[in-house]
Amino acid sequence: MSDAALAVGEADELMNVPRELPLGTIGVHASGWWGMWCVIATEAALFAYLLMTYLYLDLQARSPWPPGGPPSLMLALPNTFILLASSLAVWLGESGLRAGSRMRALIGLLCGAGLGMAFVGIQLLEWKRKTFSFESELYGSAYFTVTGFHMAHVVVGILVLLVLALWSGLGYFDQVRHGPVSIGSVYWHFVDVVWLFVFATLYLAPHARSL
């Protein structure tokens, strides 16, 4: 078999010689970095199924969908920008840590968490203003399930950012060992990107259809 001859030379010459290797959680060498990408894959699949369910019910609906016309963008659109800003804050914090500034990490993570809380607050306000509820009609069930799932992820993300801020404050990380902050950040960015899909499907698409 030809594969044998191919890499053998490398085996002895490259693979089995003394060389300096990173020890433990250096940069994104941590296994957790790979684990988080797998978690993101399965979570992305979850949201794909959620949106698929929403669209399936939409396409099969016999009554108007959404019932009162397209949802208002008054709160949701600015809220989207707030969430994007939180991603920016977290990114600035994480890249600050990579550059060696623990203070920037702390500020970035706390600002990210703060903007996340603002998003949750505004979203709760929006929920309160809805004329339908979770169990009043099918659209309401779908709307609150999808946005509720997303909100749960935001809440988990805020807790992640706060714990990371605590650990940063305790001086656990520096420009070499920043793995947990990078891993937590990528989760937060994912939660924000997912919102764009939720926002496009639940808010923008009904407007586009009624144009």
Binding site: A7, E20, Y49, L138
Partner: protein, 657 residues
């Protein structure tokens, strides 16, 4: 510099299992004795055995449920079981076998074997491994707890609405199933993530993708599929629970809901799951069979690609479970075509196995008998699947015993027979003792004859029009003879399983000593002592071919370039193993491995509390559970200096280094 260790040049040494280094590693990796070790061990071998024993316990429970049903159906108009009891039994039989046995038993094999096959000291996430086991156990017990209140799930394992809706099923039966499946889905997902990262990160240097054992290809394919489809069924069950308990109408047409949505969500998960519980088992055969044919597997690359190809196609065939639901003809044609095409990768594998036997020098051990008979059963199950992939045939046969025959040929043929063969093959590695070959013959032939006697007549019952899931039948419809034969065959099959357990029990104490490599097998796990020490490898081996232990006799590799099993990285400063690059498996990082820990158990218990809270609809209990979950997670992930997760020194000083 000495304080702050971010990089290290690991020592390279030549060392065997009787060296001082081995003694040192033994002390580093030892699990605490007694109950502490039982509750805290994160060793992949211990967890693999636990998975295996637990899966077999569920297999026996599911088997007893099946035997009760077969007694009820042995003759017409019997009154052994009430219809409600029968409903609960066939549902729990399906849940037990498909979710609590067939998947987890393969996780048992893979957990035990992967690090040994890959040349690593443990999985990438040892504590996640413990967590996936505990949550599997507790989810299984959660579902089985339904028997204690006399309300086991009763709407069949695919649980269609509206029979699973609150209106027609007001008891807690379906709630046990719905919440239990979400719980189990968590276990499956974290276990799958662990397999994926383990594959990408912890292969020995030189073990490139084209040198992986097929079992690894199978489990990897299954794991990727699980990561992508488990959320689908978890969502389906959550929405069903919303409908049942919180007043939504996702599946209720009176409120605009869609009953067919349930079927879509269930089968978009369900069909890939079927492949997830057979592809690793086919991998067991692809790796075990060549050992007993005394030659490498024919068509390694094609078999590996057919494994992946089967799964890829498997994402696009779920509608063939729904041919009779009135979907548009265009959709039916497409999914019928996709289902038929799956025969191609399956045939590639079958011909590869046949060619391996035909061109090898077969040694007729019990393991070989199980592996080779599996091919026969796979072909029979494959042909009946191919038949029902055709829409008109399916319309004729759906919901009859023909489908029951098909799925048992597929699941028992492709899962249980390779698992039994795998037990005979790897038992000496795990325990240090061989299973008895004479008892093994009895074991095999009883299972093989019993299985075919039980399930082949079901094809006929189905063609005669006998519907599945009926608790009895009249005497004058001509189904009595086939049902009696099936019942007798299933008893014989059960005796065969009993002989397997008997052989294990006897051989554990009195089996012949196996030594490191009793079968003269080619793969890496056989280079370790039997049973392997907790640290697996004294030094991290370097791999130069697909068959590290057959290089001399195959003459594929020049002597000076062969795999090095006794020389490699030492890594003995705490629990350590080598991380390698994802594609080429070149040394990349020294991975610090966690010590034994109670946190995974605590996490799993907190999760159980949450689900019990949801089941009894007690918000306080559920919230306490979630709070404990969060606390356990923070404790788990708290950066540890010992694991080289924290900055060792204040950052100002580090900048001068």
């Amino acid at each position: 510099m000495a304080l702050r260790q971010d990089y290290r040049v690991p020592a390279i040494a030549v060392a065997g299992y009787d060296s001082p280094l081995a003694t040192r590693l033994e002390a580093i990796w030892r699990t605490p004795p007694g109950w502490r070790g039982v509750l805290s061990s994160v060793d992949h071998k211990t967890i693999g055995i636990r998975y295996f024993v637990t899966a077999f316990a569920f297999l026996i429970l599911g088997g007893l449920e099946a035997l009760a049903m077969r007694l009820q159906l042995a003759g017409p108009q019997l009154r052994l079981l009430t219809p409600e009891q029968y409903d609960q039994l066939f549902t729990m039989h399906g849940i037990s076998m498909i979710f609590l046995y067939a998947g987890p038993v393969l996780s048992g094999f893979s957990n035990y074997l992967w690090p040994l096959l890959l040349g690593s000291r443990d999985m990438a996430f040892p504590r996640v491994n413990a967590l996936s086991y505990w949550t599997y156990l507790f989810a299984g017990l959660f579902i089985y707890a339904s028997f204690l209140v006399g309300a086991a799930p009763n709407a069949g394992w695919f649980n269609y609405v509206p029979i699973a809706s609150r209106e027609f099923n007001p008891g807690p039966n379906i709630d046990f199933y719905a919440l239990g499946m979400i719980f189990l889905g968590f276990s499956t997902t974290v276990g799958s993530v662990n397999f994926i990262v383990t594959l990408l990160r912890t292969r020995a240097p030189g073990m490139s993708l084209n040198r992986l054992p097929i079992l690894v290809w199978g489990t990897m394919t299954a794991s990727i599929a699980n990561v992508l489809v488990v959320p689908c069924v978890s969502l389906a069950f959550l929405l069903l629970w919303f409908d049942r308990q919180l007043g939504t109408q996702f599946f209720d047409p009176r409120g605009g809901g869609q009953p067919l949505l349930w079927q879509h969500l269930f089968w978009m998960f369900g069909h890939p799951w079927v492949y997830a519980v057979v592809l690793p088992a086919m991998g067991i055969v692809s790796d075990g069979l060549p050992t007993f044919c005394r030659r490498p597997l024919v068509g390694y690359t094609l078999v590996a690609l057919s494994t992946v190809g089967t799964m890829a196609l498997g994402f696009g065939v779920w509608l063939h479970h729904m041919f009779a639901t009135g979907l548009p003809a265009m959709a039916l044609s497409f999914f019928s075509g996709a289902s038929i095409i799956i025969a191609l990768p399956s045939a590639v594998a079958v011909f590869a196995w046949l060619a391996t036997i035909a061109s090898g020098r077969p040694v007729f051990t019990t393991a070989f008998l199980f592996f080779s008979s599996f091919i026969v059963l796979f072909v029979i199950g494959g042909v009946s699947g191919f038949m029902t992939a055709s829409v008109p045939v399916d319309w004729q046969l759906t919901q009859t015993y023909f489908v029951v025959a098909h799925l048992h040929y597929v699941l028992i043929g492709i899962n249980v027979f390779p698992v039994a063969g795998g037990i005979y093959y790897w038992f000496p590695k795990v325990t240090g003792r061989l299973l008895d070959e004479r008892l093994g013959r009895w074991n095999f032939w009883t299972m093989f004859v019993g299985f075919n006697a039980a399930f082949f007549p079901m094809h006929i019952a189905g063609l005669m029009g006998m519907p599945r899931r009926i608790y009895t039948y009249p005497a004058n419809v001509g189904w009595s003879a086939v049902n009696l034969i099936t019942s007798i065959g299933s008893l014989a099959f059960a005796v065969g399983i009993l002989l397997l357990l008997l052989n294990i029990a006897v051989s554990l104490r009195r089996g012949a000593r196996a030594g490191a490599n009793p079968w003269h097998a080619p793969t890496l796990e056989w280079s370790t002592p039997s049973p392997p020490p907790q640290y697996n490898f004294v030094v991290i081996p370097t791999i130069a071919s697909r068959h590290p232990l057959w290089e001399e006799q195959l003459g594929e590799v020049e002597p000076q370039r062969r795999s090095r099993l006794d020389q490699g990285y030492v890594l003995d400063q705490g629990r350590e193993t080598l991380g390698t690059t994802a594609l080429d498996a070149e040394p990349d990082v020294i991975l610090k491995m966690p010590s034994d820990s109670y946190v995974p158990l605590a996490f799993a218990l907190a999760m159980t509390v949450s689900f019990v809270g949801l089941l009894i609809q007690h918000p306080v209990v559920a919230c306490v559970g979630v709070f404990l979950l969060a606390a356990a997670l923070v404790a788990w992930l708290w950066p540890e200096r010992q694991l080289a997760q924290t900055a060792a020194e204040p950052i100002e000083e580090a900048q001068h280094v």
